[in-house]
Amino acid sequence: MSSKRMTTIGVIFGGRSVEHDVSIVTGQQIMRALDPERYEIVPIYIDRDGKWFSGAPLLDIKSFESDVRVREGVEEIILSPNTNHHGIIINPLASGLFAKSRIKRLDVVFPALHGTHGEDGTLQGLLELADIPYVGCGVLASALANDKEMAKVLLRQHGIPVLDAVSFTRAEWTQSTTKVIEHITAVLKYPVFVKPATLGSSIGITRVQDADSLRLAIDIAANFDRRILVEQALTDCIEINCALMGNAQDITASVLEQPISWEQFLSFEEKYLRGSDGMKSAERLIPAPLPPQVTAQIQEIAIRAFQAVDGRGTARIDFLVKGDEIYLNEINTLPGSLAFYLWQEMGMPAREVVQKLVALAQDAHAEKRRSSYNYKTSLVALTAQRGLKGTKGKSRQGGD
């Protein structure tokens, strides 16, 4: 919009997720990358309990050294689902003489939440209701990518290679443990991975070599999710990641990276906290040392998978590669640090990445505007005239 006021961007971070802290780091990185000449930044912090806050101190990561929620200038907010508000209500329960709630319009929302209640389609659903453009994948893609079991079903349908797995619910596990184990051993060969179906990070994931440790691993996973996945482990493979950016048919794949600490599966601390600045400094090889045709093949599969889940904006897709075998491991719709380091390698600094992502969000929203959600019918008027079916007939019979 050329005759527009400065674009206001709400960056949401924190969240009710085990990746709460990582999300704060990603949120800070995004806010630092956004061009202050072009955007007005509204920081939005969700605490571990799910309370929402906004205010200038949240712009500075140092504020998080102590309890940021009680700092001067930090106010409680809600994101209104009312399309008219198109943003947040600051101090929504204001009462008293000088307290006043007020609305802050957000032109675009930039979610920086990882894992549950943020990367899984729930926040996206709220933003759809509010009709506010937002960066990244929509409800369906977020929910699918976040669910390892459903993602496998869908990707297999699209001819994208994934590893075999067995999935079951916590209830099935507790009620018929032996049957579940029999089934797993019939379908898969050790070693296997035990994973909670919908958790974003590596929490609750165990690599299992034999039947003895399987039981314990499933018990652990069952602490984190209602559904559990046991997946064939691939030995002597490397992990390869590929970031994507774009909407619909126009999607760009990044260079590939190879995280090199793969030898043993990463513990949570290793994956996120090595080094001082989150994932950015974790050791990795960019570009990954692969033959060009394998690189091209991975990039092509990544794009197809992204389109299969109806992805948009951005994602990082993780693969397991062993020789010429390629398996898609997982889709991260809101990867840590937004994979800035991969785009940087392609000559695209973080500032440009976020700018491009905001533009993609606006485009996606405009595309949505093309669909009509209003179709006037006389149904209600007619029903009002005739009375509701069932209730009316009964009351008549009773009344007469």
Binding site: M1, H85, I103, R369
Partner: protein, 550 residues
């Protein structure tokens, strides 16, 4: 006893006056509470302000009272006086009402004030009559009461004006508060404001622009034809308040007096302004077309230096505005130029290869600056809509919507309410409704669309054009001449007003037996109900407010 009789007669006159005032309030509303306009209307015909019946009723009852009263108990003069008063004030048939009275807060305030004035006057009259020394002449107070009652009754339109004048300071204060609130709401919500003015085409352009912008952003256009200061404030205070989702506020601005657009701009601060047309609409209020152009230019003058002006290059008065050089960004559109053969400093958007069919318009839009072109298709009828769409397109492109996206959006445009909308009634008669504020430009297009129908009968129903000042007779005569080429039958509503049209029809040797002159729109409708057959087509041009008929 006599006092009671007099009181009853006074009450009858009082009730009659109140009822008359209540009915008159409707016309005050139509004249937008402007006392002068109302007085001009009511005094333009004697029966409007001094109806014959009350006068006659008074004279007869007074005569009978004088001549025949002998008894002294007052019963006979009371009966005569009461019958006289009732037959004087008994409300006449109102005839056809096209625009109902709306009991708005303002109308209620006006009526209450006026009722109080009437009540006070009636009380004063009662005291006056009661204080007279009757002596033996018992008829005198009855006749005097009737005379005073009659005077109050006759003067009731004036009392309404008095009530209106009394309310001026109150209305002024309420108005100022309302405007201040609108200003606050706009500051809060802070949308980009797009102003639209023009003698005609405003409402259509506004709705097309909103439709195009809504393909990507969210636009809120002022509803219907709200285009006065108060109308704009109502739109802001009712609909824009707390609506932070709006990117663009598309504000139609009408000019009824010089300075009005300036005032609306002072409130809304548009950063983009469109001038659609300068034409003789409301000429009687402005005197000359130049004055109208000056009033319309206020919307451009009000732009900030980095604002954007959008102009219809095909109108010479609007073209002159482009040449004045303010603001720096001026975008003009034309549907008359040949994109292969452009003058120096050509308009940026040009429509060519315009194809007008019954199912809509097709034309190619060229963006001269970007060297792009796109074929537009729309179900809308009327060539003037090409201009309206071009103006809306210019803003769409300026606001970052690709020309092809606009072309796609234009396919789903709908005509604004009563602006050359085409429907088919239950019997299969096609109805072209251009009932809203016909103007010399729109009427030609509407008639062209009428003649495009391969129908046996092509009926035009019209009361003619109004508010064209000195040009009114001339333009209506022209309407008659053009109608003669396009219609097979014509129904003229209102003999007096449509005389120039009749003249025009005759001069074009339109067959006299194909012309009907009726007094109300209802009669015209009846004729069409009885005589038209499936496949026929009827065009309604300009449905006038009630102040123009009866």
């Amino acid at each position: 006893m006599i006092d009671l009789f007099l009181l009853i007669i006074a009450l009858i006159w009082w009730a009659g006056a109140c009822l008359r005032i209540y009915r008159q309030a409707r016309f005050y509303q139509i004249e937008e509470y402007m006392s002068l306009r109302y007085l001009r209307w009511i005094t333009s015909r004697r029966e409007r302000w001094v109806p014959g019946r009350p006068l006659i009723a008074f004279l007869i009852s007074a005569g009978i009272t004088l001549l025949l009263t002998e008894a002294s108990d007052g019963i006979f003069p009371f009966i005569v006086g009461a019958i006289g008063a009732i037959s004087a004030v008994y409300p006449p048939n109102e005839g056809e009402i096209k625009k109902q009275f709306r009991p708005t807060a303002r109308a209620r305030r006006l009526l209450t004030t006026t009722f109080i004035v009437v009540t006070l006057l009636t009380l004063a009259a009662g005291f006056l009559v009661g204080s007279i020394e009757v002596g033996g002449f018992i008829e005198l107070p009855f006749i005097l009461m009737a005379l005073l009652g009659l005077l109050i009754f006759i003067a009731s339109p004036l009392l309404l004006t008095l009530g209106n004048l009394l309310m001026v300071p109150v209305e002024g204060a309420l108005r100022a508060r309302f405007v201040a609130r609108a200003r606050r709401v706009l500051q809060e919500v802070n949308p980009v404001v797009i102003g639209i003015t023009g003698s005609y085409g405003k409402t259509s352009t506004k709705s097309y622009l909103a439709h195009i912008l809504n393909g990507r952003y969210k636009a809120y256009p002022t509803p219907k034809s709200y285009n006065t200061m108060m109308g704009v404030c109502i739109a802001i205070n009712n609909d824009l308040v707390n609506d932070y989702s709006v990117d663009y506020f598309v504000c139609e601005m009408g000019a009824y007096i010089p300075g009005e657009i300036q005032a609306i701009c002072d409130l809304t601060h548009p950063t983009i302004s469109i001038v659609v047309e300068v034409g003789p609409q409301h000429l009687e209020r402005f005197g000359t077309l130049e004055n109208i152009a000056i009033a319309k230019y206020e919307i451009i003058k009000a732009l900030p230096p980095d604002g954007v002006g959008i102009f219809n290059w095909d109108n010479p008065y609007v073209r002159e505005m482009v040449e004045r050089g303010y603001p720096a960004t001026r975008i003009a559109v034309s549907r008359q130029l040949d994109p292969q053969d452009l003058p120096p400093n050509p308009p940026r958007f040009i429509a060519s290869e315009i194809d007008e069919q019954l199912d809509g318009l097709r034309f190619t839009v060229h963006d001269i600056e970007l060297g792009q072109a796109a074929r537009f298709e729309t179900p809308l009828l009327g060539l003037h809509n090409v201009t309206n769409i071009l103006l809306a397109t210019a803003i769409g492109v300026h606001e970052g919507i690709p020309l092809n996206d606009i072309a796609r959006r234009v396919r789903t445009l709908q005509p604004a309410e009563s602006r050359l909308a085409r429907t088919t009634d239950a019997r299969g008669v096609t109805i072209l409704n251009d009932a809203y504020s016909a103007n010399p430009v729109g009427i030609v297009h509407a008639l062209r669309v009428l003649s495009m129908h391969p129908a046996k009968r092509r009926l035009l129903i019209t009361p003619g054009m109004v508010e064209l000042g000195p040009l009114e007779a001339q333009e209506n005569r022209k309407l008659g001449e053009i109608a003669a080429q396009h219609a097979t039958n014509v129904i003229l509503v209102g003999a007096a007003k449509t005389a120039p049209i009749l003249e025009g029809l005759r001069s074009a040797s339109f067959p006299a037996e194909k012309i009907q002159v009726v007094e109300t729109v209802r009669e015209g409708m009846d004729w069409y109900q009885r005589n038209l057959e499936p496949g026929d087509v009827v065009l309604f041009l300009n449905d006038l407010p009630d102040t123009y008929s009866s």
